[in-house]
Symmetry: C2
Subunit: 201 residues, 2 copies
Amino acid sequence: MHNDGLLVVLSGPSGSGKDTVLAELFKLDIGLVQSVSMTTRKPRDNEKDGVDYLFVDEDCFVSAIEEGKMLEYAKYGNNYYGTPKAPVDNWLNENKVVVLKIEVQGAGNIRKLYPDAVSIFLTPPNKQVLEERLRNRGSEDDEDVRRRLDIACSELERICEYDYVVVNDDLMDAVRDVKTIIFAEKLKVSRRNKILSEVNK
Amino acid sequence: MHNDGLLVVLSGPSGSGKDTVLAELFKLDIGLVQSVSMTTRKPRDNEKDGVDYLFVDEDCFVSAIEEGKMLEYAKYGNNYYGTPKAPVDNWLNENKVVVLKIEVQGAGNIRKLYPDAVSIFLTPPNKQVLEERLRNRGSEDDEDVRRRLDIACSELERICEYDYVVVNDDLMDAVRDVKTIIFAEKLKVSRRNKILSEVNK
């Protein structure tokens, strides 16, 4: 990135509340652009194709990988999840703030491809809360919950790979924290080429 | 710094409004601690010893330098300006957010001593505004203004050595920006040892 665009990676274990936080963040209308992830998993009842995810079949997903069109992807259980590359690059070239919701497994790839990306790890306040949230979700059976919980606990150990950590205990506090990080990062010297040229007039 | 303390260096040329921004920032009562600088220059009419600066004579200042008690110091014109080291270290050990107002010439030293310090360059929107502010200050003669303006213009070229740049056009916008940076920096993974131990419970 050699412009004033900003790529924000929001990650965290299943049950950390990534979707809810992002939904509230976008309600604030602060000029963010959200990349829509692609997945082969089946939509839940309230999910819309092209809004919550791009829902595709496995053949389609594998082709995109092979053609180098995915920014990152990961397989969880039997399902692929990933981020198409083209829209992200276009938005960054337009100096926009692009927010990516990324599974923990895939975030490392993004940081390699975009060293200036800002990574935020969203975490539940502790493991007890995480387990409660996964159980209350209700769309998965006991075995699924246990598998997600195991993965989540190992993912919590990767917090140190991130730039920031936001605790999602009170939802609106977490939204405020993510917003604060984005606003501060836009004030970084490295992202203010336009401002710097004005100052020296 | 191996704790959750945060050292914030606020710098910028004479006329950028460091004092005014800091005064407003401290009114917000967000738990900041401000180090008081030491100087050999004479107090202006409204300045109080121990509040605006520690006003000392040259012998006293030079002794402090020789005894290694200064975090940084610089000589502007005939006057010394600098920061006593002991209170800063004590506050950081107590995990506080310490704000240092530092002349541009001295900020580099701080960054060397405290690599985790966050540096903010406060700048006027452009050079015309800078000149107006210096002339309106009224406490200095024409030659002083010209000298300060020359120094300020060369200091503007050092913005890139800083982490963040805040434009002081509208005062309250500048205050909000500095506050945002401080809040975001407190969310950095490297400063959340306490939180990380709670998450893994």
